[in-house]
Amino acid sequence: MPEIAKLNVVSENPRLIDRQLVHRCLAGEPQAERALYDAHVERVYRLVHRMAGDADLAADFTQETFIRAFDRLDQFRGDSSLATWLHTIAVSVALNGMRKVKRIRARTDNIDETPDLAARTTGFTADLKARLHSAIDALSEKLRPVFVMHDVEGYTHEEIAGTLGIPVGTSKARLFDARAKLRLALAAFAGDHIA
């Protein structure tokens, strides 16, 4: 956090730090904007990268997330943490962006996704992992964010619920469904090999 240390932050309470940062940003302090960015960019980038699977797209989505956040900072009321608020924007940006990217990829998949011969020669576990990654990719727009946030990035159900604007129970149910689908994909693949 290169810039956050320079700020005169008087509280250890994360919510208060959030509020102080937001006030300073709204007052037009460039250092505060950089501090806010530094404090949250890591998790935002990780999250959108996990959703997009591409460094360029992740950078684009992160950029768009912070631009929107700075534009709408006056709408941040502090009901949730700043991190949750930012992650809500990030998930929305990533999902919208991925819809567009999927349409484009559908046209060029045969060009961009040339079979990698080296990958074919790897063992059962690597094949299985690749199959599982494809199965995660194929999860629906409702299930994938929950699975990625919980099982991949380690968010709690409370954080996921706050970010996606769903009840905690729904988050748990979606994770259960996502895992069931993945187990099914895994079992089918393992079955093929055993047979």
């Binding site: 960019v41 950029q63 919208n96 046209r107 060029t108 699975f147 991949v152 993945l182």
Partner: protein, 255 residues
């Protein structure tokens, strides 16, 4: 396979799923600052007076792009070879300089497309969610930036064909094709595709640029792959369409 082993594999696969590398923190911050600056400028009261300036600058740059591209093609064609007085090394240096110049153009065009997209979010990423009608100034800006992009793409295709024939594809062409493909895809998500002809041309260009990018990335110089690219260019009439779209009057006499 038992349930425990299955869960273990699931957890392992989840850990590796789309694993990110280091965050390009400073690069993204610079881009955010640039985009926000551009957006502020576009919102300023003087915005209306900016468009003619943008138009003139774009037209001038377009002329430069087309000029350089067609000059490059002429110098690369066998018929033109006897006229050149440069030594092979000098000619290569000169071509390298041209490509550097054209890449600068491409980078500037890409930046402009991103500025337009961020100033008009409904025309970029969010367009999928519900389009809004662009105003005249936005349409004009897109039109000009598309023309610049097409001129740059024509120059790249020409440079690629020439370099591939001589087995001299370098990192510059690889990076250039990647940048142009990225800009093409941004334009495909913009109001530029409201015109069906332009939409088709951008789609064709997307295909050819993706093939070129893949060819140079692989670096195998496989003649069959090169033949496939050539077939795409010819079958889709990409060069003809590009030249039909980029106004010839912007090309100075003698080019």
């Amino acid at each position: 396979m038992n349930d425990d082993r299955m869960d273990e594999l699931l957890a392992e696969a989840a850990r590796d799923y789309n694993a990110p590398a280091d965050v390009p923190r400073d690069e993204i911050w610079s881009r955010i600052q640039a985009e926000r600056g551009a957006r502020r400028r576009d919102r300023s009261p003087n915005r209306v007076w900016m468009w003619p300036t943008v138009g003139i600058a774009a037209a001038a740059l377009l002329a430069v792009g087309v000029t350089l591209g067609r000059r490059m093609e002429r110098s690369a064609s066998p018929a033109a070879a006897p006229l050149t007085v440069a030594t092979p090394q000098t000619a290569r240096d000169s071509t390298g300089q041209l490509i550097t110049q054209l890449r600068h153009e491409t980078t500037a065009t890409d930046r402009r497309v991103r500025e337009l997209a961020s100033a008009n979010p409904a025309t970029a990423i969010d367009r999928a969610g519900g389009a809004t009608q662009p105003d005249d100034a936005t349409s004009l800006s897109y039109h000009l930036v598309v023309l610049k992009h097409l001129a740059g793409s024509e120059a790249l295709i020409t440079a690629f064909r020439s370099a591939a024939r001589n087995g001299e594809i370098d990192a510059q062409i690889a990076a250039w094709s990647k940048e142009l493909l990225s800009t093409t895809r941004m334009l495909e998500a913009s109001v530029a595709t409201d015109d069906p002809t332009m939409k088709r041309l951008l789609e064709d260009l997307d295909l050819v640029l993706a093939q070129i990018k893949q060819y140079v990335t692989r670096g195998t110089n496989n003649p069959e792959d090169l033949d496939l690219i050539e077939q795409s260019i010819i079958k889709r009439g990409v060069i003809t369409k590009l030249r039909g779209t980029v106004p010839a009057r912007n090309v100075p006499a003698g080019i």
